[in-house]
């Protein structure tokens, strides 16, 4: 089965073309945009929720997008084991939708942070991180005002016990609990992360640390 990537476009998404470009032009995967009003995901077998400010981040980041038409189908797809990846605003949407635990609140210093940060690959026992070494340090850009990950102590213990924490910040920029930058769900088919691997995948931009992540996602259905 070949990868058929669907990048969901919400009103206010602004990293949708970056994600499309990396999957389609760099990784040569069959890639299409999906519109938030679509009632299904068609023949797509990987769904990407891109970064941006869906619905203007009104109420809470991701809280309105989570009820958009296509999300009903995305939730069903994820619950049936489909691969769903949320980047930045996409991570917020997945948390709001209950597909990932926790929530992303305002950065501890109240600032929108746009910078390249150092991440620690916590484990590579996932279809998302299999091309990294555990403990490997990678540099990935972040650009968010609400990336401060928070969950209950019990949820954190459960995530640690199930190998759900994939990336942590080496120098925590936003106040995230346990330095968490990216996680997967319990059944390990849904992933969310605040940093932008799609912005670190093209050699011309000077950093390709994120490419292996997207490549392993594209190969996860092969």
């Amino acid at each position: 089965m070949n990868a058929k990537v669907g990048v969901v476009v919400f009103p206010g998404s602004n990293c949708d073309h970056d994600a499309y470009y990396v999957f389609n032009d760099i990784l040569k995967a069959d890639t299409k945009f999906l519109w938030h009003k679509d009632s299904g995901i068609g023949d797509r077998n990987i769904v990407i929720l891109p970064g941006g400010f869906s619905y203007g981040d009104y109420l809470r980041g991701g809280s309105i997008a989570r009820f958009s038409n296509i999300m009903k189908e995305v939730v069903r797809f994820a619950n049936n084991g489909g691969i769903v990846v949320g980047i930045c605003n996409g991570f917020q949407i997945l948390c709001e939708a209950g597909l990932l635990p926790g929530v992303l609140i305002r950065n501890a210093n109240l600032q929108f942070i746009c910078s390249t940060v150092s991440l620690n690959v916590v484990n590579n026992h996932s279809i998302f991180t299999k091309y990294y070494n555990p403990g490997e340090e990678i540099n990935i850009p972040i650009a968010h005002g609400e990336g401060n990950f928070l969950c209950s102590r019990e949820t954190l213990d459960e995530m640690n016990a199930n190998d759900q924490v994939l990336f942590t910040y080496n120098d925590n920029p936003n106040g995230s609990l346990a330095d968490i930058a990216g996680i997967q769900n319990k059944s390990k088919n849904v992933m969310g992360m605040m940093p932008h691997p799609e912005r670190a995948s093209d050699a011309i931009l000077g950093n390709t640390d994120g490419r292996r992540l997207l490549q392993s996602i594209a190969e996860s259905v092969m």
Binding site: L59, R60, S63, F67, C95, E96, G102, V103, I105, R106, N107, A108, N109, L110, L150, C151, S152, G175
Partner: protein
Amino acid sequence: MYKAKVTISLRKSILDPQGKAIEHSLKSLGFDSIVDTRMGKSIELKIDAKDEEEAKRITDEACQKLLANPVMEDYEFEISKTENITK
């Protein structure tokens, strides 16, 4: 017709950086007696319900489904009778 005034606040256990920033600003203005500041949201709903019980039930459901995120927020609301609105 009923009016619901919903107040959403960060849960007490969660550090509220906006509240802290406001508090620092208040302190710098000389409000030394203000010892805690929490920042929240206020949302007003007009509800076409047959009685107050129904208005409460609808408001509570709206809070749980969309208006508040229980992982980080608490909510409370007051219901009052209001005049019919044309729109």
